[in-house]
């Protein structure tokens, strides 16, 4: 068999006839993509806000149990409440950007773009608003534990302490990596796709 045989059989290959184009289905497909992303963001916001509140309450119990000398737990509670606040604010902003089902495609794309830009900025600055408070909270808790531990206790064992710090840093780095990967693989490509679509729609209008 040679190239000419390949060409011949290629040209004889049976192909389905007819358009089979359901435009409303395509429109739905575009909207499904938007809805999927919106649902992912919504679940993340509620989960993170809820987790922040649970940690705050847990910190309150720990503070109450150890007494006033553990006052730095108040700082951790403030940091966790702040984090929850960020996610609650995100939900409120998302509501502001939402458009009705009768909105034009351009309006929908503009709304999606606003959400996407916001998500990109959050992911780019994740160190500042998410990881730094987390690191601070972990550091404060670790200092309190070590400070109140009896000399020679397991809490002050240098190897255990090093292992604990290493574990915390690994969790922080993993969280950063997840954010960076999402930014690179999902958010930026979707942002570029939406910007292209917005430009095309605007050019037409």
């Amino acid at each position: 068999m040679n190239w000419n045989d390949y060409e011949a059989v290629w040209k004889r290959q049976p192909l389905p006839k007819g358009a089979e184009a359901d435009v409303s289905e395509l429109r739905r497909s575009f909207e499904t993509k938007s809805r999927k992303l919106e649902a992912t963001i919504r679940v993340r916001d509620y989960t993170e806000a809820g987790a922040g509140l649970v940690v705050t309450v847990a910190c309150g119990f720990i503070w109450a149990k150890h007494g006033s000398s553990w006052w730095p737990m108040g700082l951790i509670m403030a940091l966790m409440l702040g984090l929850s606040g960020v996610f609650i604010r995100e939900r409120l902003m998302a509501r502001r950007w939402r458009v009705g089902p009768a909105a034009s495609l351009l309006a929908k794309v503009e709304a999606d773009l606003a959400v996407m830009r916001r998500q990109c900025r959050l992911a780019e600055k994740v160190w500042l608003w998410y990881l730094a408070p987390g690191v601070a909270a972990l550091a404060i808790h670790l200092c309190l534990v070590v400070r109140d531990a009896a000399p020679g206790s397991v809490q002050r064992d240098p190897w255990l302490l090093t292992g604990r710090i290493f574990f915390y840093l690994s969790v922080i780095l993993f969280t950063w990596w997840i954010n960076w990967r999402t930014l690179r693989r999902r958010l930026r490509p979707r942002l570029a796709e939406l910007e292209k679509l917005r430009d095309e729609l605007r050019a037409e209008a």
Binding site: Y6, R12, L15, A19, E20, A21, F30, P189, E200
Partner: protein, 176 residues
């Protein structure tokens, strides 16, 4: 300004005329029937969205090929597809050429299966080149679609053909 109705009418007319391009790209880039259906939906969606951007400078088929190949490559990267058993055969059964004799149909089907299996095993760039060359596109059109310089298309295509021949030999040996 082109209205939504014009857009839809043109899109349907294009699909009617150039459906074969989409089907060939689906078969070349997706192995299973489910993946082919998924890629088909993505190709149609991207064509529908991109149609607004078509200026008419390039031939419609050239432009459709460009959108389809770009979409197929992105689709593959984004979804970690497995090169599972090629299911082109099942698709061919449904769309058999009734004019040919049964023996000819069987021969064609076997060769097409081997050809698609070999195409699936090629690197992405070669896959696109082979697809375009098998469809009989001129070097100028291939250059326009792939972004290669026209005088480089011949060299790249010659290498891609050699790789295809090697793959075909491998596929046939495997089947025997």
């Amino acid at each position: 300004m082109r209205s939504d109705i014009d857009h839809t009418v043109q899109f349907k007319a294009w699909l009617e005329e150039h459906r074969g391009i989409l089907v060939k790209v689906e078969r070349a880039y997706a192995a299973t029937a489910a993946d082919q259906a998924d890629l088909q939906q993505e190709l149609k969606l991207q064509l529908w969205i991109s149609l607004r951007n078509y200026s008419g400078q390039a031939k419609a088929s050239t432009w459709i090929y460009r959108v389809c190949l770009n979409t197929a490559m992105t689709w593959r990267r984004g979804t970690a597809r497995r090169e599972a058993r090629i299911e082109v055969g099942a698709d061919l059964d449904r769309t058999g050429d009734e004019a040919a004799s049964p023996a000819q149909q069987a021969d064609d089907r076997e060769m097409l299966e081997q050809l698609y299996a070999a195409i699936h095993a090629l690197p992405e760039a070669d896959r696109a080149l082979i697809l375009l060359a098998l469809d009989g596109l001129a070097y100028r059109e291939i250059a326009e679609i792939t972004g290669l310089k026209e005088n480089h298309v011949g060299v790249a295509l010659s290498r891609a053909r050699q790789r295809l021949a090697a793959q075909m030999k491998g596929v046939i040996d495997e089947l025997e």
